[in-house]
């Protein structure tokens, strides 16, 4: 297992976000995420989790404040440089956002094809990944013929296939059974052990407890609190002690 190196990967400074002329959905959000750590983002529905994730995966620019990603000011980042940054991110969307005319295989292969990976280097990793998420026999199925849980697994496979520097997942286990939820979490942990920073937004306390090394950020009405000291520097160790038996390792 690689050790977190405490290198800053994301820094938010006094960030606010409002849609149009509405009221702020995120207010004075400041935090730093460090490379190789596992973060949970929690909060009630409407607390601003999805909005914060949108800022993290560069789908939205903030109304105010500063955001630094991978050591670069993300606010003033020119449009032409955004694709390069996005390729360093893996995103699991709450509504999966699979491409409807593509098979499960092609959906998972999409980030690699977009990045220009040769076709001969795509087939094996994508097949292995589909096998790993239990969809080896459904690789030719279109999203419309997959169940909600299967679609979610395809979405997760697509997010992690490119070994991103940071994985951002919005309720990634919301539609799968508990056994599959643990399996997917293992995948996130494996990725995390390889050095990927993982940010998972969830309400599921049981899920959070299954990753005792994780740090927790909590959003309440658009404001951020820090129950595990995740946002301090140096970050405090996780409040929940590791329980290998819980992880089933």
């Amino acid at each position: 297992m690689s050790q977190p190196d405490d290198a800053e990967i994301v820094h938010f400074d006094n960030v606010g976000l409002r849609y149009g002329t509405g009221k702020e959905v995120l207010t004075d959000v400041s935090f730093t995420l460090y490379s190789g750590r596992f973060y949970f983002l929690t909060g009630a529905s409407g607390a601003g989790k999805t909005s914060m994730l949108k800022l993290l995966y560069l789908a939205q620019r903030p109304s105010r404040g500063l955001i630094r990603m991978f050591g670069t000011d993300a606010i003033t980042l020119p449009r032409e440089r955004l694709p390069g940054f996005r390729r360093r991110l893996g995103v699991v969307f709450q509504d999966f956002r699979l491409v409807p005319h593509l098979s499960a295989f092609d959906n998972v292969a999409l980030p690699l094809r977009v990045a220009g990976v040769p076709e001969r280097d795509i087939i094996k990793p994508v097949s292995d990944m589909l096998e790993w998420v239990g969809l080896g026999d459904r690789s030719n199925a279109r999203p419309a013929t997959l169940s909600g849980g299967e679609q979610q697994r395809v979405a997760i496979a697509r997010a992690v296939i490119g070994r991103p520097d940071m994985l951002v997942a919005d309720e990634p286990t919301g539609n799968v059974d508990p056994e599959m939820a643990v399996k997917l979490l293992r995948l996130f942990e494996a990725l995390n052990r390889l050095g990927t920073t993982v940010v998972v937004a969830t309400h599921d306390v049981h899920l959070i407890q299954k990753v005792p090394e994780s740090m927790i950020m909590r959003l309440d009405k658009g404001r951020l609190s820090d129950p595990t000291g995740a946002l301090r520097y140096p970050p405090r160790r996780a409040a929940v002690p590791p329980k290998p038996d819980v992880l089933g390792a």
């Binding site: 449009r79 956002r97 699979l98 491409v99 409807p100 999409l110 094809r113 977009v114 076709e119």
Partner: protein, 311 residues
């Protein structure tokens, strides 16, 4: 020496792989939409308009070349003997004049034949009884411009006061003006058709962008560049435009051929000179290529400008 073919093969394979991978990002049309048909009609009309414009240009050029150095001298006198005398005097002056390449007194038989359709040849008609002017056909080396015609006229009138001198080009000036106007009309039609093609492709691209918006957003979020997405639309539009262009070219060539036959059947020398040469046909065959280029550039510009509005 074997490095170059190997490099070319590698580049070709890489391009094929890249385009095949990119083409999977969005569902590709299979020529089932209206776009190839619309482009075929546009290209067909452009081919006919261009062929007409080129034929008119050729007609005007040939006619202009025929009459450019032509001058006609008429000796208008009621007394036949005096008319003949002045005609001979004018002939002598013209032959000696500098810049005159050829001079010919039109024989009486030819004159009779010229006036025959109007004056008739029934028994008892005496064409010679009518004061038909004597005609001298003069061909100058170079153009018969106003100054040269005036100088020639002044010289001739000293010995033949009944002489009237005209540049042949001046008689055809209204015809040239009409042909010129028709050429502008053909050019205007081509410009309007190009504009209509751009507008059609623009609407089709916007429509396709709207239909695939969610997919485009996903590809963007996964790090797809604007150029990658634009290339997919360009390729799709190029296929449609190429199919439509070939169809339109065939249609236009058939219509042009039929029109050409109709005009050739008129038996007019002026129309015969308006035939299309090989360089004209090459220009016409380039129209579909221009159409494809125009469609591809329009699609690219439309898609890129729409994508720039996305983050």
């Amino acid at each position: 020496m074997s490095i170059l073919p190997a490099l070319a093969n590698a580049l070709r394979a890489d391009w094929r792989e890249r385009t095949s991978a990119e083409s999977r990002l969005l569902p590709q049309g299979k020529l089932s939409g209206p776009m190839p048909w619309v482009i075929a009609i546009m290209i067909g009309l452009t081919v006919v308009a261009t062929a007409s414009g080129l034929a008119l240009r050729n007609t005007a050029r040939a006619a202009r070349a025929d009459v450019a150095g032509g001058v006609t001298v008429q000796i208008v006198h009621g007394a036949p003997r005096e008319r003949d005398r002045q005609a001979q005097a004018a002939l002598a002056i013209l032959k000696a004049a500098p810049g005159v390449a050829e001079v010919r007194l039109v024989p009486q038989k030819e004159l009779d034949a010229l006036v025959e359709p109007w004056l008739g040849t029934s028994a008892g008609d005496d064409v010679n009884a009518l004061p038909v002017p004597a005609l001298i056909d003069v061909r100058l080396s170079g153009n018969a411009d106003a100054a040269r015609v005036k100088a020639l006229g002044d010289a001739v009138r000293r010995k033949a006061p009944a002489a009237r001198i005209d540049a042949q080009a001046s008689w055809l000036a209204p015809v040239f003006e009409a042909v010129h106007a028709l050429q502008w009309l053909a050019g205007g039609l081509i410009a309007l058709l190009a504009f209509a093609t751009v507008a059609t492709v623009l609407l089709a691209s916007r429509n396709a962008l709207g239909n695939h918006r969610s997919t485009i957003e996903i590809v963007h979020m996964l790090g797809g560049t604007d150029t990658q997405i634009a290339r997919i639309f360009q390729r799709s539009m190029a296929v449609d435009a190429a199919a439509g262009g070939i169809g339109g070219l065939l249609l236009g060539v058939i219509v042009t051929g039929l029109l050409g036959r109709q005009f050739a059947a008129l038996g007019s020398g002026m129309m015969a000179a308006g035939g299309l040469g090989w360089s004209d046909w090459i220009a016409i065959c380039c129209i579909p290529l221009g159409g494809v280029l125009l469609a591809v550039l329009t699609a690219r510009f439309t898609v890129l400008s729409a994508l720039r509005r996305m983050l």
